[in-house]
C-alpha cells in the first residue's frame, strides 16, 4: 500500500500539533512499556546468578526453590532469595525488577494490616491495597488489560459498524429503513444497564465482555459510516466507476472505503477512551472482569470504600487522568489534522 501525498500532508499536520503529538508519543511509550510489564513489575527476578549458572525467570515456567538450594518445591521467592544471597556473600546475586511485586501477590506482614501507605524502603512505591497487593503493580497490569480491551473492542466494533454501515449507505432501500428502526430501538436501550444485567448472570471473561459490548455498542460507528457512505455514493467518481462496469464490492472496497478512512480515523481516539471508561465503570460496579484481574475500576471501588487509604485513590485517579487526557489530546489533534477547518479571524 502506498501512502498518498494527501495522507503525508495530514500526518505532517498532526506532527505539527505539538500537544497532540507529544500525547501520542507518551501513549505509545506507555503501551509499549505495559506490554513488557513483566520486566518492570514482577515478583520474578530478571537475572539470577547462582553457582556460576545464569537464570532468567521472567518468562517461561516457574523455577522451584530447590534449584537455588532452598528447601521447597513451589516457585522461588526471589525477594527472599536476594536477601539470602546478600547475607551469604558467596558471589551469587539476584537482579529484581524495579517493582519486585506481582499484581496478584498479597504481601502480608505480621505487624502491619493492609492497606499499607507508600514506602520506598519496602518498594511499595504507591502503597498496597486492602488485601496487601502492590498498587503500582495493579495499576500497570490494569492499564495493560484496559488498553488491550479497549483496542479489541475498537476493532470488533469498527468491523461490525463499517460492514453494516457501508451496506446501509450503499444499498439503501428497505434494508436501510429496517436497520434504521433497529438502530433506533437498540440505541435507546440503556447500554450499561444491559451489560450489567447480562454480566450478573455469568461472570464474563475478557472476550465475552467484548462480545457483549459490541452487541450493544455497534450503533454509533454504523450510523456515522452510513451517513458518510451515503454521501460518497452520490459523488461522480462512483458513477464513473459504475459506468466502467465495476462491481458493487469493488466500488465499496476500492473507491468508497478509502475515502471514508480519514473520517473513521478521527473517531478512533474517542472510542479508545470510551472503551477504557466503560471497562473501568463496570469494574467499579463489580460487573466487569472477574477478580482478581488487576483493574482500575476495582481500585477505584477500594478508594471509594476506604477514604483513609488516600494513596489508592490518588494513584489510580492520577493514572486515569494522564491516560484519558493524553487520548483526548491525540483525538483533538487527529481531528484537526485529518478534518481541518480553516477559520477567518478578524483583527
Amino acid at each position: 500500500m502506498s501512502i498518498s501525498s494527501l495522507t503525508i500532508k495530514k500526518l505532517k499536520r498532526f506532527h505539527a500539533i505539538k500537544r497532540g503529538y507529544y500525547a501520542f508519543v507518551l501513549l505509545v511509550a506507555m503501551i509499549l512499556a505495559s506490554l513488557g510489564a513483566e520486566l518492570l513489575v514482577s515478583n520474578r527476578a530478571l537475572i539470577v546468578h547462582y553457582q556460576d549458572n545464569w537464570y532468567f525467570p521472567t518468562y517461561g515456567d516457574i523455577i522451584p526453590g530447590k534449584a537455588f538450594g532452598l528447601d521447597y518445591d513451589y516457585e522461588t521467592n526471589y525477594r527472599d532469595l536476594a536477601d539470602q544471597f546478600q547475607s551469604q556473600n558467596a558471589g551469587s546475586w539476584v537482579l529484581m525488577p524495579p517493582v519486585p511485586y506481582s499484581p496478584f501477590e498479597n504481601d502480608l506482614r505480621p505487624d502491619i494490616l493492609p492497606p499499607e501507605p507508600p514506602s520506598t524502603q519496602r518498594r511499595h512505591y504507591l502503597g498496597t491495597d486492602t488485601s496487601g497487593r502492590d498498587v503500582l503493580a495493579r495499576l500497570v497490569y490494569g492499564f495493560r488489560i484496559a488498553i488491550l480491551f479497549s483496542l479489541g473492542l475498537l476493532m470488533a466494533t469498527y468491523a461490525v459498524g463499517i460492514s453494516i454501515g457501508c451496506a446501509m449507505g450503499y444499498y439503501g432501500g428497505w434494508f436501510d429503513i429496517l436497520l434504521q428502526r433497529i438502530i433506533e430501538i437498540w440505541s435507546t436501550v440503556p447500554f450499561l444497564y444491559v451489560v450489567i444485567i447480562i454480566s450478573s448472570i455469568a461472570v464474563p471473561n475478557f472476550w465475552w465482555l467484548i462480545a457483549i459490548m459490541v452487541i450493544f455498542g455497534w450503533m454509533g460507528v454504523t450510523w456515522t459510516i452510513r451517513t458518510v457512505t451515503y454521501k460518497e455514493k452520490e459523488r461522480d467518481y462512483v458513477l464513473a466507476a459504475k459506468a466502467l462496469g465495476a462491481s458493487d464490492l469493488r466500488i465499496i472496497f476500492r473507491h468508497i472505503l478509502p475515502n471514508t478512512v480519514s473520517i473513521i480515523v478521527t473517531y478512533i481516539p474517542f472510542s479508545i477512551s470510551g472503551g477504557i471508561v466503560a471497562l473501568t465503570s463496570l469494574d467499579y460496579l463489580g460487573f466487569g472482569l472477574p477478580p482478581p484481574t488487576p483493574s482500575w475500576g476495582e481500585l477505584l471501588q477500594q478508594a471509594w470504600a476506604n477514604f483513609s487509604a488516600w494513596w489508592i485513590g490518588f494513584s489510580v485517579i492520577a493514572a486515569m487522568v494522564v491516560t484519558l487526557v493524553a487520548v483526548t489530546f491525540v483525538g483533538e489533534a487527529v481531528r484537526e489534522a485529518f478534518d481541518p477547518k480553516m477559520h477567518t479571524v478578524y483583527e
Partner: protein
C-alpha cells in the same frame, strides 16, 4: 411539517414496544429472579431454625412444588413471556407500573419519590451548563488561538476526558476526606428535619456542591465547543463580512448577526434535556449516595427487582423518544430554513 411530526409521534409506539419487549425478555431469562431469592431466603431460615437437624431435601429445596407454582403465579412467571408482557403493557396503559418484588411498594410511588431529587440536579446542571458554556464558547471564538483560548481548551478537555463519577471520587477524597470542607455524600444532613428554612437551604446547597460539580465536568466540553465552532463558522460567513464592511463594529457584528445564527445548533440539543432532567447518572449518584432515579434503576437491576427495572426503563425511554422529537421541533422553530417532510 405537521404531518411529519405526527408520523414521528406515531413511530414512538413501535420503537417503545421494541425496547420494552427486549428488556422484558432479557429479564425473564436472567436467573436469580424473585422466586430464586425467596427459595434462598427459605433455605436460610430452614438452616437457622432447624440447626443441624435439617434434612437433606429441605436444604436443597425448602419449598414444595405447590408453593413454587403459587409464587410463579403471584409474580406472573407461570405464563409465556409474551402473555405476561401484554399483561404488563395493559397495566402500563392504565398507569399501573406494578409492585416492587423487593419492597412490595407500588413502583410508581418509588419512582415519584425520586423524581424531585433527579429533577433538582438535572435543572441545576442544565442552568449551569447553558450559563457557562454559551458565554465561554463566545469568548473562545472571539479570541481564537489566544492564550485564554488555549488555556481554557486544556481545562475543558481535561474535564471531558475524566468521567464525572471519577472526578466525584477525587473531589470526595480531597475536599471531604482530607480537608473536610464538604460532606461525604448524601443529599441532606442528619438533623435536616429540625433545621429552619434558611439552614435547610444552606445544608442542601452544601451537600449538592460536589455532586453538581461532578455532573457539570462532563457536560461542559460538548456545549462549549459546539458554541465556539458554530460561532467561528458564522464569523467566517459572507454576511458577517458584509456587516463589517458596511462599517459595523466587531461587537455589533458578533452579537447582532453571527450569534443569533450560532445558537441554532445549541437549540438542536435542547429537546433532549427533558430526559437528562429525569435520568441522572447512576454512577454519580452511587458515588455520592444520592437516592435518585439513576440509583433506583441501578439497584433494581442488581437486586432483580423487575417491575422497577421495567418501570424506570419505560419512563426513561419514553422521555428519550419524546425528547428527540422535541429537539427536531426546536430546530424547526428557530431555523425557518429547516423543513421536515
Amino acid at each position: 411539517m405537521t404531518a411529519y411530526f405526527i408520523r414521528r409521534f406515531l413511530l414512538i409506539v413501535p420503537t417503545f414496544l421494541g425496547i420494552t419487549i427486549l428488556i422484558f425478555v432479557i429479564t425473564r431469562f436472567v436467573p436469580g429472579g424473585p422466586i430464586e431469592r425467596i427459595i434462598a431466603q427459605a433455605q436460610q431460615q430452614a438452616l437457622e431454625g432447624g440447626g443441624t437437624a435439617v434434612s437433606e431435601t429441605v436444604q436443597r429445596q425448602p419449598l414444595s412444588d405447590d408453593q413454587i407454582d403459587l409464587l410463579k403465579k403471584y409474580y406472573g412467571f407461570d405464563k409465556p413471556v409474551l402473555v405476561s408482557y401484554v399483561t404488563w403493557l395493559g397495566k402500563l396503559v392504565r398507569g399501573d407500573l406494578g409492585i416492587s418484588t423487593r419492597y412490595y411498594d407500588p413502583v410508581w410511588e418509588m419512582i415519584r419519590e425520586r423524581i424531585p431529587i433527579s429533577l433538582y440536579f438535572g435543572l441545576l446542571t442544565l442552568i449551569a451548563t447553558y450559563g457557562v458554556c454559551i458565554p465561554l464558547g463566545i469568548a473562545k471564538a472571539i479570541r481564537h488561538k489566544s492564550a485564554f483560548d488555549d488555556a481554557s481548551s486544556v481545562l475543558v478537555f481535561v474535564g471531558y476526558a475524566i468521567p464525572g463519577w471519577v472526578a466525584g471520587i477525587l473531589m470526595i477524597l480531597v475536599f471531604s476526606s482530607h480537608w473536610e470542607l464538604f460532606p461525604l455524600g448524601e443529599l441532606v444532613g442528619e438533623n435536616f428535619e429540625t433545621m429552619s428554612l434558611w439552614e435547610k437551604a444552606l445544608d442542601l446547597a452544601w451537600h449538592s456542591m460536589l455532586p453538581l460539580m461532578a455532573y457539570l465536568i462532563g457536560a461542559f466540553s460538548f456545549m462549549t465547543f459546539l458554541m465556539k465552532n458554530t460561532l467561528m463558522d458564522n464569523l467566517a460567513a459572507d454576511y458577517v463580512r458584509t456587516a463589517m464592511a458596511k462599517g459595523l463594529t466587531f461587537r455589533r457584528a458578533v452579537f447582532g448577526h453571527a450569534l443569533r445564527n450560532s445558537l441554532i445548533p445549541i437549540a438542536t440539543t435542547f429537546g433532549n434535556n427533558i430526559s437528562v432532567i429525569l435520568s441522572g447518572s447512576f454512577l454519580v449518584e452511587k458515588v455520592f449516595n444520592i437516592d435518585g432515579m439513576g440509583l433506583l434503576g441501578y439497584e433494581s437491576v442488581v437486586e432483580r427487582d423487575y417491575p422497577v427495572v421495567m418501570g424506570v426503563l419505560a419512563i426513561s425511554s419514553m422521555l428519550f423518544l419524546v425528547g428527540n422529537i422535541l429537539s427536531d421541533m426546536c430546530v424547526a422553530a428557530v431555523d425557518p430554513r429547516v423543513k421536515f417532510e
